[in-house]
């Protein structure tokens, strides 16, 4: 009886966890692009008013980021290229493209470049926001419901 109870508990927690993880993934993606846009704004202002160097801006603001962006920026400082598991192949390529492109133009060019990428990142963000709204709650609820159904079936 005890073993059965433990098994059912494991099934319930496991299946719910899958649903909730899928749901968290959506919100993480939304937060990632939100932070990336905010980084673009910080960079834009620093280039426009201070012409601060890229690494200085990153170092000064690194602690403001809580998502995978922080690791990404940390790796950028160490000249390492990384792939963000959270993002699709296309999203990854755009984020990498952005970081490769910055620092190569004069300030006018840089500001335009940042604005252009901000448009792309905004589109990603809006998509993520929509998907999070649509599927975020759905997956967590589905996970719990499916886990309950399995438990009931096994009982």
């Amino acid at each position: 009886m005890m073993i059965k109870f433990v098994c059912l508990l494991v099934i319930f927690v496991g299946v719910s966890y899958i649903g909730i993880s899928l749901s968290i993934n959506y919100s993480k993606r939304e937060r990632f692009f939100n932070e990336l846009i905010s980084f673009c704004n910080v960079l834009f202002n620093n280039i426009k008013f201070n012409k601060s160097k890229l690494k200085v801006v990153i170092k000064e603001n690194l602690d403001n980021y809580k998502t995978e962006l922080k690791d990404y920026l940390q790796n950028y400082l160490e000249n390492k290229e990384v792939k963000i598991s959270l993002l699709t192949e296309y999203e990854n390529s755009k984020v990498n493209e952005f970081f490769v492109s910055i620092g190569k133009l004069d300030s006018f060019g840089e500001l335009n470049n940042i604005e252009n990428y901000k448009i792309i990142f905004n589109e990603f963000y809006e998509d993520c926001k929509l998907n999070n709204k649509k599927y975020g709650n759905l997956y967590s609820k589905l996970g719990v419901i499916f886990a309950l159904i399995l438990v009931i079936l096994f009982v």
Binding site: K51, K53, L54, K55, V56, L105, D106, S107, G109
Partner: protein, 304 residues
């Protein structure tokens, strides 16, 4: 610090060289790398330096691009204002002269692209190199308006760096405004001075002399303004304004000697008005910073 900006494949070639003796490293795309050691040009080889051009290492365009990328900290926009003027300054006051295709728009230089030549100039601190001149320039806490005359590479910048430190250390009551247009006197990078210019120096970097003179006099109330490489065409007005405001000026100018200086525009005006009270002539005859003489306002030699 030069090592930080060199491409990885070059670093090994420089391991045997002592940067304390290197004045310049000249890199030209697809040409041999030239290193100036104590005033003599030699070619860089895999094992050191040589005078045989056939053994020289050839610099690639990609090497130059990599140096620019490293020197700008991957932030070209941050140094473009300097690049537009043909140089960029990095940590340690190292000045990198750049040559390439100048991009212009509406008669203004936008940038220099396809940079294919670099001249990396490494500054050296020579303690007390200005001491002999100091005695003729500063008297009873009063600094005489002084013009330092020398051809390029004869130690003007090193001289005024030391002079600023001497004045600052020996006369704490004197406030100095250092107008360091190319950030090479004080080697200021990211707001930090890398080379000592004394405790009572306020420093303007990366700005025009006209801006620094006008605003500096108003806001910082200096007793002395020290600046590098003036142009008698453009800067004389600012210097006159400073002097008539009661601020002493110490400046440097490119010329071989006093006679060479006479051929410069506005020289007569400068001499007639006795704008400068002392002229210090330097050359590289016996190494950079060789004194050729100190002259008074009437161009009479007071020290040889």
């Amino acid at each position: 610090m030069v090592e930080d900006i060199l491409p990885e494949n070059f670093k090994v070639y420089f391991t045997n060289l002592n940067f304390n003796y290197i004045n310049e490293i000249r890199l030209r795309a697809n040409k041999p790398i030239v290193v100036n050691v104590m005033g003599r040009n030699k070619f860089l080889t895999t094992s050191g330096l040589t005078e045989n051009i056939d053994e020289a290492i050839i610099c690639k365009l990609s090497d130059i691009s990599e140096i620019i990328k490293k020197a700008s900290d991957n932030s070209l926009y941050a140094v473009n204002d300097q690049i537009k003027k043909g140089f960029l300054t990095i940590k340690g006051g190292i000045r990198i002269g750049v040559c390439g295709e100048v991009v212009e728009e509406n008669d203004c230089v936008n940038t220099i692209k396809n940079i294919n030549s670099l001249n990396i100039r490494i500054p050296h601190k020579i303690k007390n190199c200005s001491l002999n001149a100091y005695l003729h320039i500063v008297n009873n806490n009063k600094v005489r308006n002084t013009l330092i005359i020398s051809p390029p590479g004869a130690g003007k910048t090193t001289f005024i760096r030391d002079l600023a430190e001497q004045i600052s250390n020996k006369n704490p009551a004197i406030n100095i405004l250092l107008v360091d247009e190319r950030a090479e006197i004080s080697a200021t990078v990211d707001g930090m001075q890398m080379l000592n210019v004394g405790p009572s120096c306020d420093i303007y970097t990366n700005c025009s002399k006209a801006f620094a003179f006008e605003n500096g006099i108003r806001s910082m109330k200096p007793d002395v303004i020290i600046t590098d490489e003036i142009n008698l065409d453009d800067d004389l007005k600012a210097i006159k304004t400073a002097i008539t405001s009661g601020v002493s000026v110490i400046a440097t100018i490119h010329a071989n000697d006093i006679y060479d200086l006479k051929s410069k525009p506005n020289f007569d005006d400068m001499l007639k008005n006795k704008i400068f009270e002392r002229y210090v002539v330097l050359s590289s005859k016996n190494g950079p910073g060789t004194y050729e003489g100190i002259f008074n306002e009437n161009l009479v030699c007071v020290y040889l």
